[in-house]
Subunit: 302 residues, 5 copies
């Protein structure tokens, strides 16, 4: 798949293009690909995620990793952005996550309420906003409406929107689960239809196909084909794959290759990075940039 | 039935008339009838609908089909409109669908939340907006309220409103099902009463009449009479019939004749068109326009 | 000058592109050029302009001329649009003029107040709005501010803005007059800088150069070069030339050739058209389209 | 002139049509013509106008006259409407005058500020609003802007707008004066262009033609032709002629015939009515209705 | 003066710091100094400024110069930004000029009305906004008020404000003229007091000191001391010096050294750059960056 999606294909306003250009060409790998460092797990999962690498509990750790590792951007909730970004302002791009929740209540009617606004993101000099959409949740209607308002405000202010498209709810569990190719494929398309500029999804799993709705239950995709499939379902939406829980170096490198080779624009690796000590995190970051991202440049026409 | 409803009969504001005239006389068959190409199934049904014709997964396929086939308009959600319409702006009319949902959660309390606004439609140069109203759903009250706001905004901006009037919910299932003549007839009237300019409905089915409320359970309508009945229930609301899942050529042509002969203003055929390869889709499109739509012209007085 | 400005060069939003495409390719000459019929003289000059051709006093005359002659669009103030466009809605595009004044008070501090809004234009299904900007008037500051608000609203609603860029005021009279190449050149650039999508200007005059500021006082332009100069000063703004008071057929055809040959996108001829009886007006319209506009097509890439 | 303008020709919204129908067919002469009783002179001229008939100082006098004489409607400023209409509500239609001024300051920069809103008119159950527009005044820009806002609000609420179109200012005095055919003709057209539904003008005078701008200075109109001319300039705007200062019976009857015969929709006679004792006022009112208005019925198609 | 003002000294919000960091360290010289390319002269002076180098009439010339020369940012009015920045979005920072005027009307009551908003700047992805403040003009009160609103909006959105602080008006002429040390010193302080983040001033002139108010009339400053003086008056406001009309190479280099050596943060050279052919413009740009700007780095603590 040499025909990668670029900013030229996306009908972007001048402001969205300026900000996405800064992310994709002015920071990170710098060749049109993206490597984001998310640090919203303290809210989403609680401090449990910091136990493997205690210094990571201090957001300054991730700021420093993002700066020294040359990441495309940091992903913060409003509180962390207000408290930790000042010294890094302009040096590390900010993606302000606009909604969030804890993992404490049941996920049965998953819904992530808005905690900050697009105007907050502008005020803080962010280059994109993030939003978690729980595709298929019983609370989907409320979620779509909340997202619609945010999307419109982002459009008016030229702010790119990254959608964390996460299948959720009992209906999705009954149809093969949140990471099935059926679920991920549908989530990618949903983000495209609702107006995401960038969508973050998980790698689709190909086990247990029999449980999926037709015709997914008869799919002959291998892993690479499945990734290509969901990238295609995202259409003119840039795709990021998340890293999920921590993997060994070889598995992580293989995952990066798999995603980028199948047409993803980038990766958003959190625990896999900052659950390692700084030196190891910087080393694996450098490997991903050198060995993977450099292989998938996107050239613009302009 | 030679006494077709025309724009002259509808007490339209200048703006609504301008936009409906463009759809009905400036594009598509061009004689006052309509042939729309909807492409919101990626959200409503998921990518499953694209499996029969994989190129259809890329919305550029439908844009090209609409342009080359000379459709009355394309129906897109906001995300697809933002990303795919620029090159077709002014060449193919846009109907912006303002609400939508996935098929993942249960349909028991069907409600389709708003994903975009009438102002978005204006901003994108659309000639109409679309809204799915789940007539009879337990969530009907919320639906009516959401629709009322949208209708008022559309009125103020001269934007025609097309209502997808879909009977839903356990109550409707207990009374004969969503496609019964009782359900469709009620839905058509509901759209007219609430202020739709155009209503999209499914063909009413005449099997299992005994299950319907009186006096529908004793109806002697044949198929054509049933279609006339629902068209009449829509009153001064233009009626579009949907194609539903894919039919063979002869069945599709027969369906088109049945609807148009009974007074429909037009057809809105999605999967029946873009689940075919481009050449076949263009061929059947041409047949419908030549053999069917040309038979039912509406002349204006002006 | 074969390198004509097209919609592809203008960084247009989808809505502005849709509406400009309709004007330039869906109506009028249909090849990317424009021939507008303005009928705002009843307000700007008073009924005096209708004396040469009394039927022209009834705006229905101009509506009929625009329809039968196949014009790109009619230019109306809000009152005429409300009262006369309904029967022509969708058949003849509308440009709603948003400000205006009478010729009665002194022109010393020329300022044209807003009489309608961009939202009125949307409501009436217009494809563009018009605004008269008195460049150089002592009231210029108020004018710029009024225009800025209108431009922002038009941008938000995807509505193209046509600026009537008219030099006015004692300062401009002291520097060579309102139709001098200095004045027209400055007006064209001003419209571009302030955000017009289309600018309407008068043909620059080359007599009395000595009165102009340097270096215009030493200009060696012939007529064609002068027109090219002002078209270039408008940059990525489409240029329309006005016809002014009524000319004979040969002079009018020569003027049309001069403007279009020098890179104008179109002509906006009012009195020169509707001060003739209908048959003559239709005849000269046809000649301009056949002999002139057809020679200057603009092809789009898309 | 048998081709009278009717409500059918005016592209009226349902609300404006309902209110104008009530005025023109439900009250007054009842045949599509209008006879209004204005009582805003207490503000515009001061109590001086009440000296000839002291009971007229009490607005109850005019209320009673309007009711017993069967007028089309009363014209009041907000204070009189609040205080005197309650007992007549529904029995005599109300036209709420929305702007006004005293005659005390100089008329050089005539401008009539808004004293009430369209919403006040709705709240009081009025069937139309009135607005005085000083065409040609140096304050014309402010006037046009104030009117534009009011017109938009009236449009949104379905409230008919009657414009008192009065030429004013030194420029108009230099060009032949406020009642010249030039001035009145321009004023009529201005009201039409800016969106009046009804325009109230004074009878044009034909003396001193030489002082008028070309080609008015060479006009060969007799009185009837002059009135027809201004009625035609108003286009699809209903025309009312004012009575001005008090005339004798024969002159008043002649004036009424002149206006109605030339195409006016109605008359708005104040001082000529309420400066007479009640019995005389009722008598002349009856004569106008019987001998004049009955001669000029307008039939609707519907 | 080794104690240069840096972003660390300015109590900047995170957003303002992010944007200023991008300008000062992410683009241009990249060491904390600034070299801006303004192109608002087409509006402020008219097309006359383009005569010395005709290709400069096309704003694409300046875009290309800014990109290839590695400027800190381009300064555009809204119209040019909308039409010319898309291809350069993110590659060349944008400073959106928010007010402007033509040079046509008298400068006696100089006032530059707002032509765009801070929100426009955000929407277009600008990194700063520009505002011309006419210090001392009779219209100063209106100017201060307009600026106050804009400053507050910029503060809320984290957008840096660059003030073009220009002394103007007869009072300033009577006190030694707009470029006197008195006038420039006062202007610099005014910008600081009213809330500019950056101030653009002209080099103060030291001739004709006797005409200045005490104690400026007895000043013993040499040129460098005078520049230091105004830089100090700007306090914690970054100072840019303008180039003014075109100079020879040696004079330009000397001016650059003078300003930077005296503590300026940067230069904003327009005509001196784009009135040269591209190659010459790039060559002198490179010399200024290499020979001057590199000598005055500002290091941040963070």
């Amino acid at each position: 798949m040499s025909n990668f999606l670029t900013l030229d294909d996306m009908t972007l306003s001048t402001g969205k293009r300026a900000r996405l250009y800064r992310l994709l060409y002015g920071h990170g790998p710098g060749n049109g690909t993206a490597l984001f460092l998310p640090i919203d797990q303290g809210l989403e999962h609680g401090p449990v995620d910091f136990f493997p690498n205690p210094p990571s509990k201090d957001p300054a750790f991730q700021c420093e990793l993002a700066l020294r590792g040359g990441y495309t951007g940091l992903v913060f909730q409003i509180g962390l952005a207000e408290k930790y970004m000042h010294a890094y302002a302009g040096r590390v791009p900010l993606v302000l996550k606009l909604n969030g929740k804890t993992t404490i209540p049941s996920d049965d009617e998953a819904f992530s309420p808005q905690c900050a606004t697009v105007e907050d993101a502008v005020r803080l000099g962010a280059d994109a906003v993030g939003y978690t959409l729980y595709v298929g949740s019983p609370a989907q209607a409320e979620d779509f409406q909340q997202f619609a308002d945010l999307r419109a405000e982002a459009e008016a202010l030229g702010m790119p929107v990254i959608v964390w498209a996460y299948p959720r709810g009992s209906a999705i569990e009954e149809k093969g689960g949140r990471d099935s190719i059926y679920a991920v494929d549908y989530a990618a398309r949903t983000a495209c239809e609702l107006g995401a500029d960038v969508v973050k999804i998980n790698l689709p799993k190909l086990d247990n196909l029999a449980a999926l709705p037709k015709p997914y239950n008869a799919l002959a995709d291998d892993e690479a084909a499945a990734v290509r499939r969901v990238v295609e379902s995202a259409g003119r939406t840039l795709v990021l794959f998340s890293g999920g829980s921590k993997l060994g170096d070889d598995d992580l490198m293989a995952k990066a290759h798999l995603c980028m080779g199948a047409g993803a624009t980038g990766l958003i690796f959190g625990r896999n990075m900052w659950q390692r000590p700084m030196d190891e995190a910087l080393a694996i970051t450098a490997r991903i940039k050198t060995e993977v991202m450099s292989q998938y440049p996107r050239e613009l026409r302009g």
